[in-house]
């Protein structure tokens, strides 16, 4: 819509010619300028510019839908009412049926916590036939860190052999170009789920020097977001963690100044972690699931969701993938919702008992 040509909008001949003569050909060109800049550039009066802009705007602006219509469409068109069930009962209930389509869902957690395991499980579920509770489609799995394991996938599924497209992005460039190609392949291949593991490895460092608006993430955020909306599929991305640097404050300027009662930040553990992609990215995801460990127990937290209260579910990883230990979930309060802990997981143990495939995939037959 934004690149619609002004010459095709049915403006009066005279004014359309003026736009063309000044090389303002698309709606984007015209609307990125202010009225006065246009007056200056086109050398016409304010009223002409206003009426031309009003005309262009009316054509370019999206049409409305009532929320009721939106809901009815979803119920009719999409299986399982627009969600990909995770088969984790408590989580599905909390999220009203699973991972929603059309928006971004993010998994954050320290390494080895089970993000890739969860992605593999979701890929498997999406490729299952509808009567098994899946979406019956294909999956695009963008594997940035070469962690994808078909063997593990088959182990999780065991009963079905899904068709999984496995793209290996070795360098940033390859992945970036493949991101653009995805749009085409989404349509051609009946893809029902897109997994990006991991987003943080694609782009590193929002805190690098330089103007913040030029960080490489900008373009991808809007691209991935519009991809989700346009194709109506769930998109799952993983995000890494990094340790929080000292001077990073998470307070507003009005907080703390002259108001002694503000609760002091809890003393920083050395295990204090934050999501690797910063606040800008966090605004773009609709659902954020935090995977963390506390005193040896793994927890999955619904840290951001428009439909679910902040809940935490203990889980463990077995040979059939992720399973919740109970389905009720504990409600969280305050800063706990967004904090990420990594305590008490002894990784030696995990390698031996918990995740044998992770370190020695060759040994499993």
């Amino acid at each position: 819509m934004a690149n619609k040509l002004i010459s095709e909008m049915g403006l009066p001949r005279s004014i359309a010619n003026i736009f063309a003569a000044r090389n303002i050909t698309t709606a984007k060109d015209a609307l990125s300028l202010t009225e006065f800049e246009l007056m200056e550039l086109l050398d016409v009066g304010l009223s002409e510019v206003r009426s031309a802009l009003a005309h262009i705007s009316q054509i370019v602006s999206p049409r409305y839908q009532t929320a009721l219509l939106l809901m009815e469409q979803r119920v009719q068109k999409e299986q399982s009412r627009g969600h990909l069930p995770t088969q984790l009962k408590g989580l599905d209930v909390a999220l009203c049926g699973g991972i929603p389509v059309g928006v971004l869902t993010e998994l954050v957690g320290p390494s080895g916590i089970g993000k890739t395991q969860f992605c593999l499980k979701l890929s498997l579920l999406a490729s299952l036939q509808a009567h098994y509770g899946g979406l019956g489609g294909r999956v695009i799995y963008i594997d940035v860190e070469s962690k994808f394991s078909s063997r593990r996938l088959i182990e999780i599924g065991a009963k079905s052999y899904p068709e999984i497209f496995h793209m290996k992005g070795m360098a940033q460039e390859i992945v970036f170009t493949s991101l653009q190609q995805i749009k085409v392949s989404l349509l051609q291949n009946q893809v029902k789920l897109l997994v990006i593991d991991s987003m943080a490895a694609l782009v590193s460092g929002e805190h690098e020097p330089g103007p913040p608006w030029q960080h490489p993430l900008g373009w991808h955020i809007s691209f991935i977001k519009s991809l989700a909306e346009f194709s109506r599929i769930p998109i799952v991305v993983t995000n890494q963690v990094r340790s929080q640097s000292r001077d990073e404050s998470c307070q507003y300027s009005f907080q703390g100044q002259g108001r002694g009662k503000i609760v002091e930040d809890p003393p920083k553990h050395d295990s204090h972690l934050v999501a690797a992609l910063g606040i800008h990215w966090a605004h773009a995801v609709t659902i954020r699931l935090v995977l963390e460990s506390k005193s040896g127990q793994r927890f999955m937290k619904v840290a951001k969701s428009p439909i679910s209260p902040p809940l935490a579910f203990p889980f463990n990883i077995t040979s059939s993938g992720i399973s919740l230990l109970n389905d009720d979930g504990m409600e969280l309060m305050g800063p706990e919702i967004n904090s990420i802990y990594c305590q008490g997981l002894s990784f030696g143990e995990i390698c031996l008992y918990d995740l044998p495939w992770k370190k020695t995939p060759e040994l499993i037959s």
């Binding site: 009316q58 999206p62 009203c96 346009f230 009005f254 609760v263 428009p306």
Partner: protein, 310 residues
């Protein structure tokens, strides 16, 4: 003497004549404030303000510091960190604006631009209808107890949702809203969630971005005044380096912060969500706690605490 022969600039002459002042005698009897069209004196404005309508947030504490709710005829910006409840508050307002007049609401319709969750809107609408019938039962024991005729589906039907994919579409839509509104006069609130998102990507010329944004803000303000509706802009936060440390601040920069009438910041204070009035011409800066429950935005004390995590 004719206005057309007065020694004034051509544009002023044109304006006078087109407004019907052709001779000097017709001009001499009017006061200068009448001539400057649209000027009001403060006394009239006081009366107007007293009759101004507000949209409740469903959280009494929040309503208190806002002076009764989100003001119609004004632009209110609401910002906060991800997951604090901006979208929740947006959806809540889109539902609350439809509370009928006899229940103390506005009985209007809502326009919602951007980040919308239908499932969540349905939950909040159901809770709102329940609350209204509850209110009916307790406070109206008279015979002709007026029934709550509204259904949750009616509420959803009165929310006009626009999906915006690029900033061009966003600009176009805001330009077009003027026309849309004159066809749908019963719209009482416009919620843009979020005003920031598209402008924070792929905009190279920052000075141009500021100019375009302030143009948008002016249009929204005019819209709010002309159709006496509330405009609510949801904004994201970013980090800003001041005085040797990083601080949170709302996105889009300093010049944008001038363009809204009211600014409310949502933040975490300990274990509770708080709203803080950062800027308002008429309200004291204050903060109040609120909570996001299954039924929508509510007072934080009414929150039934479930098992707390260690």
């Amino acid at each position: 003497m004719e206005v057309s022969s007065l020694p004034i600039s051509a544009s002023q002459r044109g304006k006078l004549i087109s407004a019907g002042y052709t001779s000097l005698s017709s001009l001499s009897s009017v006061s200068s404030s009448d001539l400057a069209r649209g000027a009001h004196n403060a006394w009239d404005m006081l009366h107007e303000e007293e009759s101004m309508t507000r949209i409740t947030t469903s959280c009494a504490d929040l309503d208190n510091i806002l002076g009764g709710g989100i003001n119609c005829k004004e632009v209110t910006e609401i910002g906060g960190v991800p997951g604090i409840g901006k979208t929740q508050l947006g959806i809540q307002l889109a539902v609350n604006v439809q509370i009928p007049l006899e229940f103390g609401g506005l009985g209007g319709k809502a326009i919602y631009i951007g980040n919308f969750m239908v499932e969540r809107a349905l939950q909040i609408a159901e809770a709102c209808v329940e609350d209204m019938s509850e209110y009916n039962r307790f406070l109206r024991n008279d015979f002709q107890a007026c029934q709550v005729k509204m259904q949750p589906t009616d509420i959803l039907e009165n929310i006009f949702y626009f999906r915006v994919c690029t900033y061009t579409e966003q600009i176009a839509l805001i330009n077009y809203l003027d026309k849309f509104m004159s066809e749908h006069k019963d719209v009482k609130i416009v919620i843009i969630d979020s005003i920031t998102f598209h402008f924070r990507q792929d905009f190279d010329d920052m000075a141009l971005r500021t100019r375009v944004l302030s143009g948008l803000a002016l249009k929204l303000m005019k819209l709010a005044k002309d159709f006496s509706l509330a405009v609510v802009l949801l904004n994201q936060v970013t980090t800003k380096y001041t005085g040797g440390s990083f601080q949170l601040t709302l996105a889009l920069g300093d010049s944008w912060s001038h363009s809204c009438t009211n600014r409310v910041i949502l933040y975490w204070n300990g274990n509770e969500r708080y709203a803080y009035i950062d800027k308002s011409p008429s309200l004291r800066s204050a903060s109040a706690s609120y909570s996001v429950t299954h039924r929508g935005i509510r007072n934080s004390t009414s929150n039934v605490k479930r098992v707390k995590m260690m």
